[in-house]
Symmetry: C2
Subunit: 402 residues, 2 copies
């Protein structure tokens, strides 16, 4: 057997668990007899083009890497062209050959799986590395899996933080509305996690709005007014991407219309928009809170279950590559049965790239106790366990920095 | 000795440590032979007026209360009138007599100490309870003490969170500016805590702006441009209340001018304002983050040192009341010497009410290594130790709710 090298890279937005997946893949590669050297590309596919990588063959700080949030290798937002005759493919192929890359693992979300899909197709009728996608997204919106690495930690952060915000907003005996804006352009999974304090049996947050379910401003105001009759401090959690019945982002008229490199509308401020709406229409004290980057980089609240599964799916992806199972994404799947259990499998990359897994319509009635129970059954095992920390007495973590 | 009752209340904004002070005072009162019943007023002085309180005489969950963020008794923003002939004083006095209140402890910040000062003056020539102030403010701006209960926990939250945000913003190999807006209308103590990742020897945050030092927009832009020559991802932390050389809040022209009940200008959005400025003048990717309420209610990141000291100063305040030392605020003071140590003392309430302790001018040069060392020497002992938690495996805390 001729040994080949592994090249691994990270792409898309950060999470508290993406380095756990990196650590899992590196750990498996270090034990894999087919793998010679292990290279980590800096800033995703851009590091391939720039020939910029670090050698991880003998890297031993895997536990510390596992607990390090954001991407240790750096990220990029780079979309490969549709046309394989574009010189960028030739350039990548030249680097892969030069580096003797036999396995290319790409860790990322929906957009990153597009890169995996295209490279797999490119190498379908050419000699080249086995290309495998490793999942990552706090948004939990990748198809082909039960849930995604990074979601559990972000969900834990949101559940704990919402519990604290609910207490904070409850201290005054005055009518008030607090609007908390949660990440999620198309999928409401993170917002459901912010709803856990209620789903578990509490009374708040009072209103929970996800992008999958059309949002009606007048119905929202009516609900706020109705709930204010029995509770003074209304807490609403809303996904950044909530839309009206016509599919227009709520408050979009007040926004810039700028788009990111993947053509997504750049979102900011549905919370601020609703704050203005409530102030104008109801007139009580109102405040909006954008949880912002904290929800995706809070390693200090990472879920041990999430880090463990993220590590495992990274190792599984390496095993897939070694077995020649290219053009697929490694996936975390849920065992049948009353007790939570997971196993690693895989999904066709075509079913994952640029596709989204949304909150099912059966869950739209978030006031239904049966739905709340289902949501708890789904999310709680993913946020379980306080992650091992490498911190000093002041709380500062000893992160891996390449 | 004739036993009297204790009435204790909380006021102002929440913190992660105000219930620790409540727990300390209640614990001391339970052991004090002069105290008969212990009542906790709901929503500060408003609970006195509404005759709404809870009986804490036999309350035993003091450790759990100590670890509970926000105010377990509820808060208010109520300013007593200057004129003692106002009927509100007669009303308070009637309730105090009816309840046989011999000791009145009020936990809060600068504005709450105004209430303590006025009630002390009111009772200077009348029979009535001994009135003692117990300090609380994440802003750390109360005079007469070394630091305030609640500051250490907020500082720990900010230091840890900034460390994570710095990592998050560093992942792309693209020029970017991130502006983080920290609480602090007049005092920069919290923003200094957000600067700890740099003061301890790191390189970020790149720019740190506090209200005490006049902020010049052009100098800020020049500094961003200069730093961008050597680092791609600029991180700036700014206090919400930074002002220009004329004392005008930065971006105030873009704001509403609304004021709160104490006449303070309602602040929002210096971060957003600077985001717009950088976008317009420099044109790179720019994002602003408001850390918002999370910095004051994050019990999950509370500092054990802060909770212990907050508990101790609450107990000390009760001892002061029992000794008849009214018209004063209990205070945490720092022992002389190379090793950190604290003790409890007190300060004249007149020196605390409506007064602010600001970051000293000797610390304005935040690039000076000697200043950075001094700041670390001052803040680090206050954020030390992970607070004891009463959490389940999902991270949900078992808080005290009255």
């Amino acid at each position: 057997m001729k040994k080949k090298n592994l090249l691994i890279a990270q792409s898309g937005g950060p999470s508290a668990a993406i380095n756990a997946t990196l650590a899992g893949a590196v750990s498996a590669a270090q034990q894999c007899p087919q793998v010679d050297r292990i290279f980590g590309s800096r800033h995703g596919i851009e590091g391939v083009l720039r020939e910029h990588w670090v050698d991880l063959t003998d890297f031993s700080q895997l536990e510390r890497l596992k607990a390090t949030p954001a991407m240790a290798l750096g990220s990029c937002r780079f979309k490969l062209p549709e046309d394989f005759s574009d010189p960028v493919y030739q350039q990548i192929d030249t680097v892969f050959r030069k580096m003797n890359v036999g396995y290319f693992l790409y860790i990322g979300g929906n957009d990153s799986m597009d890169t995996v899909s295209k490279l797999s197709d490119y190498y379908a009728d050419r000699e080249g590395p086995v290309v495998v996608g490793l999942p990552k997204t706090i948004d939990n919106d990748l198809p082909g899996c039960d849930h995604t690495p990074g979601y559990g930690s972000a969900a834990r952060y949101l559940a704990v933080t919402m519990d604290e915000l609910i207490r904070d907003t409850a201290i005054y005996a005055l009518p008030s509305v607090t609007i908390v804006e949660i990440m999620g352009r198309d999928a409401g999974w993170l917002t459901l996690a912010a709803g856990l304090p209620r789903f578990r049996g509490g009374s708040k947050p009072d209103i929970i709005a996800i992008p999958e379910k059309p949002f009606d401003e007048q119905a929202f105001l009516a609900e706020v007014r109705e709930k204010m009759k029995t509770t003074q401090n209304i807490v609403a959690v809303v996904s950044e991407g909530i839309r009206d019945a016509e599919g227009q982002y709520v408050g979009a008229g007040a926004k810039s219309g700028a788009v990111d490199t993947f053509g997504h509308l750049y979102l900011s401020g549905v919370g601020k928009y609703l704050e203005g709406l409530v102030k104008r229409e109801i007139g009580c004290k109102v405040r909006s809170i954008e949880v912002n980057l904290m929800q995706r980089c809070a390693g200090h609240l990472a879920s041990q279950a999430d880090l463990d599964e993220s590590f495992a799916v990274g190792a599984h992806g390496m095993a897939m590559a070694a077995a020649g199972e290219g053009g697929r994404m490694a996936a975390i799947l849920r065992k049948e049965g009353p007790e939570y259990g997971y196993y690693c499998g895989s999904a066709d990359i075509k079913a994952c790239a640029n596709q989204e897994r949304l909150v099912p319509a059966e869950w739209f009635d978030l006031d239904d106790p049966a739905v709340q129970k289902e949501i708890c059954r789904y999310i709680l095992p993913l946020i379980r366990g306080e992650a091992a920390q490498f911190r000093d007495e002041y709380g500062f973590a000893d992160y891996v920095i390449f």
